[in-house]
């Protein structure tokens, strides 16, 4: 039980003032600008947008600056900010097939139409510290050949789909509005659409660990990265007053399609199954982990057994949100004095009872 406590205002103000000073640090070092954060710490910005569940690079950069790089604190700030804005409505569903691809790889097909496009990546680097960065060395411009590739490439899964080798993706009735966990509390069973919303805003570390657990044998399914793609996608919004879909600009997304082992029956020949991940910005680890967990959570659809934590919808969805999690863990720091007094009383009483009993027993033995 938490009982409200009063007082301490002066100390709290002083602590916040001290924190502001610490955050700014040595005044002889230039302060960071939001442009510097947005440009040079882009992965941190992408993570804050993804888990803050709000796409706005400038706001995410401000949150990172304000939280001095504590990303969960930054995500918290973003979640709080979004509650201050009205909602205009929902976009038209994003068409990732029409993404302007900046990176697109497949671990299952070497030669697919459009090819493998590495884009800007850490992959294949040696993970050696680069001391030229410490010295602020010059950075070369990227190559810009005269001929450009095609920017819009079909999904890799279409190759399997054409041969019927992968489960088809069921479509909904047009205009059916999906459930929204920012509007209604999460209830179980949640279903795949609500699960995907929950996972998309879920903590990267949590999803990474859950996804990893499926690879190590806690749940079935041998996954291949069918496709990972990153790039910009158009956002369209149906404006009531205009009566048509208005283009709003583009958002950068990472999408992962995991292709996992088969499902078949007496009626349907074996087919690959799918796990899906989608995240804001360049967030590959997040999208891949999400796809592994999405697939594990679909055990019931394939008549698999529930044997592992990553398959347990209630366990995964209830613990994926780092703002809920940190709220509950960190509330332990707040004064629990009354609560603790009660426990203290209890432990004293228990000890007293044992002492009294021991005393009575030793007296009996002596008599």
């Amino acid at each position: 039980m938490y009982v409200a406590v009063k007082g301490g205002k002066k100390a709290i103000d002083a602590a916040h003032r001290l924190f502001a000073d610490k955050r700014r640090g040595d005044r002889s070092v230039p302060a960071m600008t939001l442009e510097q954060i947005a440009n040079q710490l882009s992965f941190a910005v992408d993570r804050v947008m993804s888990e803050g569940s709000l796409y706005d690079r400038e706001l995410a950069s401000l949150a990172i600056k304000q939280s001095a790089g504590d990303l969960i604190e930054a995500i918290f700030l973003i979640r709080a900010y979004r509650t201050t804005l009205p909602r205009f409505g929902a976009s038209r569903p994003l068409e990732t097939r029409e993404m302007r691809v900046e990176r697109r790889i497949s671990a299952s097909y070497k030669d697919m139409p459009g090819g493998q496009v590495l884009g800007p990546t850490f992959d294949y680097s040696h993970r050696l510290l680069d001391f030229t960065l410490a010295a602020d060395g010059e950075v070369a411009d990227p190559e810009r050949p005269d001929e450009a590739m095609t920017a819009q490439l079909g999904h890799v899964a279409e190759i399997l789909d054409r041969e019927g080798l992968i489960e088809p993706v069921p479509a909904d009735a047009e205009n059916e509005q999906p459930p929204d966990l920012t509007r209604e509390p999460l209830e179980f069973p949640a279903g795949r659409k609500l699960r995907l919303q929950n996972l998309a805003r879920g903590d990267e570390g949590f999803l990474l660990a859950m996804g990893y657990s499926t690879q190590r044998g806690y749940a079935r399914g041998h996954a291949f990265a069918g496709e990972i793609r990153m790039g910009e996608v158009e956002v369209e919004f149906f404006a009531e007053e205009l009566g048509f879909n208005v283009p709003l600009g583009r958002v950068k997304l990472t999408e992962c399609q995991m292709v996992t082992q088969f499902k078949g029956s007496s009626k349907v020949k074996p087919q690959f199954t799918r796990g899906y991940g989608l995240a804001f910005g360049q967030s590959e680890r997040k999208a891949m982990s999400m796809a592994l967990v999405d697939r594990a959570l679909r055990w019931e659809e394939y008549g698999e057994e529930l044997v592992a934590p990553a398959q347990d919808e209630e366990f995964v969805l209830s613990h994926s949100d780092n703002i809920q999690a940190t709220g509950f863990v960190e509330h332990l720091k707040l004064p629990h004095y009354v609560d603790f007094q009660a426990e203290l009383e209890l432990v004293r009483k228990m000890r007293r009872e044992i002492e009294e009993r021991d005393e009575a027993e030793s007296q009996e033995a002596a008599e």
Binding site: D56, P86, R87, F88, L118, V169, P170, E176, N245, L248
Partner: protein
């Protein structure tokens, strides 16, 4: 609204939504004459829930939100202009709505097309082209090696 009219409106509003705010500001300042106008809707920032598709192509699910700013104006000559764009730039929304309204007036359409929409559209296309060109050399050909004897 007829399909062709809707498509041209989508084009104009789309070019303005994609526009770099600074560049739009510059082009707007360069306009010869901006007629009198008033707000039908003052610039307002809110959220749009982005929907994804299950497995990329299936049913819609709620994915996450994005900030959007919108505005609407009416010219003294009666034309209404609307603006919607990602982000929180109210000045951009105001200028976009005025440009959209002016584009609908026979008197200003040509100037808006050549001085604002055309250049913004070309700049965006060049920017896209540059990005694709930078991505192109990262395209790889992996090859697999057969190990041992068959």
């Amino acid at each position: 609204m007829e399909t062709s009219e809707m498509e041209t409106n989508r084009r104009i509003m789309g070019v303005l939504a994609h526009a770099d705010a600074e560049m739009l500001d510059q082009k707007f300042a360069g306009l010869g004459h901006v007629p009198g106008w008033r707000f039908l809707r003052k610039p307002e920032t809110g959220l749009v829930m982005l929907q994804g598709r299950v497995s990329g192509t299936g049913a819609a699910f709620n994915f996450g939100e994005v900030t959007v700013t919108r505005a609407a104006v009416s010219l003294e000559t009666g034309e209404a202009g609307h603006a919607y764009a990602l982000g929180r730039d109210k000045r951009k929304a105001e200028q976009s709505a005025i440009v959209h309204a002016m584009w609908q007036s026979g008197k200003y359409q040509q100037e808006i097309e050549t001085e604002v929409i055309g250049p913004l559209e070309r700049f965006a296309a060049e920017d896209d082209e540059r990005k694709v060109k930078e991505t192109t050399p990262t395209k790889v050909d992996f090859f697999t090696l057969v190990r041992g004897e068959d």
